[in-house]
């Protein structure tokens, strides 16, 4: 119960932060030259000044900036995210449509990065300074240093264009209009390459952290004790070392949930996924302030939720934390 209490307090503390972020973004976007009507004109390939004036009135852009901000915050208090000028729909429904691909992508690549990082980190730590360690560390370095758009494009060239094993982009196959299990498998096939691409950088980080923390824990006294008791090596690693070495890994998940949302802009563009990252990019280019603020709001909620889960996991892994709180 204590842990819930702690998490609840954290949640309450994050609300002012959330408002500050939204106001900050709102003001920051005012510095970008041009508004949504300018962006619209650019898309239309021209139009006259009277039309532009009319459109500005329609979108409430003729009001002063404090007025616009005031309107926005007042709407937000009533849980109304406003109306998207690019999509002609309420922002909430636009975001709701785009949320599933991003959530799927994030979950898939985070779990891939976490588990593959864990395994590789353990293997590297067990064979420290021998060839498996060197190999894994070098790979990790390469994954970390390579930009994800390049990985994505190379993956498309190899697995879609030449081998034709996996689809080159999109969220699902439009032609088949599959349902049920077939659709699930289809979506999964479409997610393999993007999830791997997005996950590789995070994999590299997890691998390094896991390796370091394994090495640290392996040298602690209780491990020596466990060995002295005559436990076999596998048991020592799994039961005693791994559990203790996992704590920094779990910390990272919470931190990286936010980073991942940012990284998904690139991956979603390369793989044509209709996710939140691309939506955010489009709303910046089109100066669709309502949609952008809505995305910031939802992303912040996501990060808060992930951190909440991480807090719970912490308590499970290390009973000292909930006791101490």
């Amino acid at each position: 119960m204590r842990i819930l209490n702690l998490a609840g307090r954290r949640l309450a503390a994050s609300i002012p932060t959330l408002f500050l972020i939204l106001i900050g973004i709102f003001l920051l976007l005012q510095f970008a030259p041009g508004d949504t009507v300018d962006a619209m004109m650019a898309q239309m390939g021209g139009g006259d000044a009277a039309t532009a004036r009319e459109l500005r009135q329609f979108y409430g852009l003729d009001l002063s900036i404090p007025m616009q901000l005031g309107h926005y915050l007042w709407r937000l208090v009533r849980f109304d995210l406003g109306f998207s000028s690019i999509y002609g729909k309420p922002v909430a429904s636009v975001i709701l449509e785009r949320l599933p691909p991003t959530l799927l992508l994030m979950t898939a690549s985070l779990s891939f990065a976490f588990f593959a990082g864990l395994v590789l980190g353990v293997v590297a730590a067990r064979g420290v300074n021998k060839w498996p360690d060197t190999l894994i560390s070098t790979l990790g370095l390469i994954f970390y240093a390579t930009p994800s758009f390049w990985f994505g494009l190379m993956a498309i060239v190899v697995f879609s264009v030449y081998l034709q094993w996996l689809p080159a982009g999109g969220f699902e196959d439009i032609g088949q209009a599959a349902t049920g299990l077939a659709r699930t498998l289809d979506i999964a096939a479409h997610l393999v390459l993007p999830a791997l691409t997005l996950g590789l950088i995070f994999l590299a980080i997890y691998l390094r952290i896991m390796r370091a923390s394994m090495l640290e824990v392996l040298n602690l006294d209780f491990v020596r004790t466990a060995r002295a008791k005559g436990l076999d090596e596998t048991r020592v690693v799994v039961r005693h070392v791994l559990r203790n070495a996992l704590l920094p890994m779990v910390t990272l998940i919470g931190l990286q949930a936010g980073t991942m949302l940012g990284g998904s802009v690139v991956v979603e563009s390369v793989f044509s996924l209709p996710g939140l990252g691309r939506l955010a990019y489009e709303s910046v280019v089109q100066r669709d302030l309502n949609t952008l603020l809505g995305i910031v709001f939802v992303s912040a909620l996501l990060v808060i939720a992930v951190n909440f889960l991480v807090d719970l996991l912490y308590a499970r892994l290390d009973p000292r934390i909930s006791a101490g709180a």
Binding site: A32, A42, Q43, E282
Partner: protein, 538 residues
């Protein structure tokens, strides 16, 4: 420049048939008569989503490429670039040019089953073309009424003479018809049909999944017999150009229109037998690269400085090394693809001549100061294309060599338009001028004085010239085609002499299409047209 396959297909493009062009590209396929095959799904690359899809409300290629398959204009252009009836069967003008009568096609129905009548034309013209449609509101400024004596006749009444040729050349882009019964109630801009268009065209709107795809299916009740051939068209939203090229190669796309890929990918796929890479079918969408001068800047209001800048840039070198086969030297605001209005290359030109540029700058009193610097300018490039970005860098380096220091200030679309066309916060700007078949539709607003502040792609340079204004106004209401052509030749001469804008590069958009496609690129605005005859070979 090497005479490549693409170059040949462009030169022959306008006047030859698709068969001859196909012969150039692939001799084996030349005259083999094939029977059109029904069926198939055609996947199209769609680079940027639109806020709406109704071409009666928004004139842009991004809308035509979808809306143009679902809705139809009164008139389109045939292979030779001449107006040909679509929803209109015939037309005539009174000698004074103030009354133009369209006879409409019989037996055409909207996708919801209601009949298409002159009421639809009158409603669309008065409420959409005249009031909302970009470029349309300028074109139809003097339209006072559209009479509908019977369901098959629409009579356009103008306050001032409307040259029939101007109207016919404008209507393929600015003459799409919407259904009155769908739009007559409520706010036109907010009508749900804007995102789920209802038309008379060969394909019926099916689904729009934001961020993913748009689907249209065959219209079984289409008025042209035996058309269309395709079962379905899918536009896939792919914003990343490299990813789109990969999708083409993987078979997920059959077409990337309007130069949707990177220049290097287009050149690479041009060598691949599975694709045809060509500028053919885009003659109606010619564009020129510009240099726009801000006259509020004292130095730039001096004609010698503008001419010096033009002389200082080695345009042929730039084209050969950066744009390759996709561009050629331009000669002014009316591109050479415009058979009706191109005045020929013998108007004032500014060939590369560094010494002359330096002499002109000296003459203008701009002596080299510290470090050889004569003048500092801010250049704002538009973000629409790779070529503009390269061109901006090239201008910067070329002008550096004659002592003009250029700072390139990059913006995204909204920012560029705001700074150049509303705040006038530029010294030089560069972007595209897109020519729309008649100078009165697309071009003269770039030169005519008195454009309202904030209207993009109009004379926002602060340039004023009563002589050119008179030519522009006379030509816009001149009913005699020969006299109009002569007036526009004067216009180009005057524009190139005074040089408020310089348009030294001419380009056509590039189409990348599967070699299995038949009846493609066969009109000057093919990617925007209906695709009723397009089919896919096995």
């Amino acid at each position: 420049m090497p005479l490549s396959r693409i170059e040949i297909s462009r030169r022959t493009a306008l006047l030859t048939s698709a068969a001859i062009a196909a012969n150039v590209i692939n001799p084996m396929r030349a005259f083999a008569q094939e029977t059109p095959r029904k069926g198939g799904v055609f996947n199209v690359h769609y680079g940027a989503e639109q806020r709406q899809l109704n071409p009666s409300l928004q004139a842009s290629t991004g809308v035509y490429i979808i809306g143009g398959k679902i809705q139809e204009p009164l008139v389109d252009l045939d292979a030779a670039g001449n107006p040909v009836g679509v929803l209109a069967e015939s037309w005539e003008s009174t000698p004074d040019g103030k009354t133009i009568t369209f006879k409409l096609r019989k037996g055409v129905t909207w996708h919801d089953g209601k009949p298409f009548t002159s009421e639809d034309v009158a409603f669309t013209a008065m409420n959409m073309w005249k009031k909302i449609l970009n470029y349309g509101s300028t074109l139809q400024l003097f339209l006072t009424a559209v009479d509908t004596p019977d369901p098959q006749t629409a009579i356009f009444r103008y306050e001032r003479p409307m040259p029939l040729n101007l109207l016919l050349r404008a209507l393929p882009d600015l003459g799409y018809v919407s259904a009155k019964h769908i739009y007559e109630t409520g706010d036109i801009r907010q009508n749900p049909a804007n995102l789920a268009p209802v038309g008379t065209g060969p394909f019926k709107f099916n689904k729009y999944e934001r961020g993913q795809y748009i689907i249209a299916d065959r219209n079984d009740n289409y008025w042209r017999p035996n058309a269309p051939y395709l079962d379905r068209i899918v536009w896939k939203v792919i914003t990343d150009r490299a990813a789109a090229a990969a999708q083409l190669e993987a078979g997920g796309l059959q077409l990337s229109p309007f130069s949707g890929l990177t220049i290097s990918d287009m050149a690479r796929l041009g060598k691949d037998k599975r694709f045809i890479v060509s500028t053919k079918g885009n003659e109606g969408n010619a564009r020129t690269n510009t240099i726009e001068f801000n006259f509020r800047r004292k130095e730039l209001s001096d004609i010698r400085v503008r001419r010096a800048i033009a002389h200082a840039i080695n345009v042929p070198f730039f084209i050969e090394n950066f744009l390759g086969d996709f561009a050629k030297l331009g000669t002014g605001p009316i591109p050479s693809t415009s058979a009706d209005f191109y005045p020929g290359p013998n108007t004032p030109q500014y060939p590369y001549d560094k010494q002359k540029a330096i002499a002109l700058l000296d003459e203008a009193g701009l002596k080299p100061g510290a470090g050889g610097n004569r003048l500092s300018l801010r250049l704002l490039p538009a973000p629409w294309g790779e070529d503009i970005s390269l061109w901006a860098t090239f201008i910067q380096q070329s002008l550096g060599e004659v002592g003009i220091q250029v700072e390139v200030v990059r913006n995204d679309g909204g920012g560029f338009l705001k700074q150049v066309y509303d705040e006038h916060a530029f010294d030089l700007a560069t972007g595209w001028h897109q020519y729309r078949n008649d100078p009165a539709v697309s071009t003269t607003v770039w030169y005519r004085y008195g454009q309202p502040k904030g209207a993009p792609w109009t004379n926002q340079w602060g340039w004023e010239d009563p002589a050119i204004d008179k030519i522009i106004d006379d030509a816009a209401t001149e009913v005699d085609p020969a006299k109009r052509k002569a007036l526009y030749a004067d216009f180009v001469t005057r524009a190139n002499t005074e040089l408020p804008i310089w348009m030294p590069i001419e380009q056509l958009f590039v189409t990348v299409i599967t070699a299995k496609a038949r009846n493609h690129s066969n009109t000057p605005r093919w990617a925007s047209s209906t695709w009723h005859d397009l089919w896919l070979a096995e």
